[in-house]
Assembly symmetry: C2
Homo-oligomer: 306 residues x 2
């Protein structure tokens, strides 16, 4: 199934306790595509400024990502500058919207027929404009963040009513649902529209809530995490890439989506910006997937009760 | 295999955001036995004061727990008073050691031959005195806490050198190992002696580290958690009870131990003190175990990479 992602391609400056990156490649749709590209051939809808060197995206093209709808327009590329005091939370130092200010995502005719669509973390109104363009998607998922929960709640609720799945951080899920308990929050968000809710818990993994059933995946244990930026986008890329190549979308393929996403996120955090995702090989992906399976394996025979 | 647990039987007073319990049954060995009693017939070594109504433990006897080495001595029973501002951390308001001040755990002759031994969270010097008494255990595990890491590090390190497994909270593992990263901490603790390290992550589940391999289990998702007291002890009870009835102690049985512990801990937190553990049935345990298996199930077929 064809997968279209709409989101940002950005220039990031990042500092973490383990180093820094100045004006490097970033953006939600970039991470997403870098991950999804291992599983299918995603089509990237995004916008960059004249200052952006499109060769930066060559590795995506080589991975099979369709970049024909990455538009270059007058002005400067979207920039984000952030710092991580610890690895659990980014503090934004500066956001320059630049060309993103007038971004009106436009899908080409073939993309409007895409079966699988991912709305990366952009303004809910832009997400809605994409939803207005697609004709008969089988599975649409969206990401969001605290900024939109607080400043654009109404359009966000409209997005929620129109998507099949929401991918959201645990703290933001609690904020959105106004619930302290994550399980209660997941159920309440499900009642807002999406039949599938995926809650990202950072180093504690991810939780899938679908048809009153839960599935949990731990994060891959890592001794060295350099930069958490893009972990969630890479997770979403692995997830949606896996969904796009599944023969049907059901509880089993959603679970495998969580696992694929978990694997991808684990690589994203091992380098600054897209450094690790850039050099990643299929063999490395498959090996880490096997290791994750092994970490979750146990004998399901009934308990021998006294 | 015979399972002996040495720890506390206590009278607890607890307040959480969801209610309180005044002078109710508590104690690490009590929770442990209540959980382990579903899987084997643990023998409880503990001490209570003259003010303790032994009928409070009748439900343990009915569950097959051997209480013949619970001694009543002159004085008052060990008391703990704590409050949870949120559910993640207990704040101790008062600890009255009482009879525990002069506790010198004494195993009877048969208990000295026990194959499986659990040293609940008591002073490391007492844990060492138990280790001096056992003759040829096949598997010895210990719990500990920040208090001993800070105030009794030397005897604790001696305990670590002499046990097969340590069960420890995530924050305390980092403190013990002086490592910010949990995976690094687990490895460092393994190098201190125990070949198996189990790290408890509260609502995020548990991590087993054994022979360079990791296993992760999520916590059972609960919408209502009334009182986290005893969750770790109940986890240990389920774990060790499962080990004691395993035909051999290997990676598979250790993993099943984590799962059994996870199930037991999920019940402990659903009532104040031992309320929920007291009324728990085998059928409920088996049903929740099945639900947990279902939450961790996914198709392990290789990823279909593009």
């Amino acid at each position: 199934m064809a997968l279209v992602v709409v989101g940002s391609v950005a220039i990031d400056s990042i500092r973490t306790p383990f180093g820094e990156m100045n004006e490097g490649l970033g953006g939600s749709a970039t991470y997403f595509s870098a991950a999804a590209g291992f599983l299918c051939h995603p089509q990237l809808v995004a916008i960059v400024g004249e200052d952006f060197d499109l060769h930066e995206l060559d590795f995506l093209r080589e991975r099979g990502v369709d970049l024909s709808t990455v538009r270059t327009v007058e002005g400067k590329t979207f920039r984000w500058k952030g710092v991580y005091e610890d690895l659990n939370e980014a503090k934004t130092l500066a956001t320059e919207l630049n060309v993103f200010q007038n971004f009106a995502p436009e899908l080409n005719d073939a993309q409007r027929d895409a079966e699988v669509v991912f709305l990366a973390n952009i303004q809910p109104t832009l997400q809605l404009s994409v939803l207005d363009q697609v004709r008969k998607p089988r599975f649409v998922a969206a990401d969001t963040m605290n900024l939109w929960i607080q400043s654009a709640r109404e359009p966000l609720l409209e997005v929620l009513r129109r998507v099949d799945m929401i991918v959201i951080n645990e703290g933001e899920a609690r904020m959105l649902a106004d619930e302290r308990n994550t399980i209660s929050a997941a159920k309440k968000i499900r009642d807002m529209g999406p039949r599938v809710v995926v809650i990202k818990r950072g180093e504690f993994g991810a939780l899938l809530f679908h048809e009153d059933r839960f599935f949990f995946a731990p994060a891959v244990p890592l001794e060295t995490v350099l930069d958490p930026t893009g972990a969630g986008d890479s997770f979403a890329g692995g997830f949606m890439g896996s969904i796009a190549c599944a023969s049907c979308i059901n509880d089993d393929s959603l679970r495998r989506g969580v696992i694929a996403g978990t694997v991808m996120a684990s690589f994203a955090v091992q380098g600054f910006g897209l450094q690790r995702m850039r050099t990643l090989s299929s063999a490395e992906v498959q090996a880490r997937y096997s290791a994750l399976c092994e970490m979750m394996r146990f004998d399901h025979a009934p308990l021998a009760l006294a």
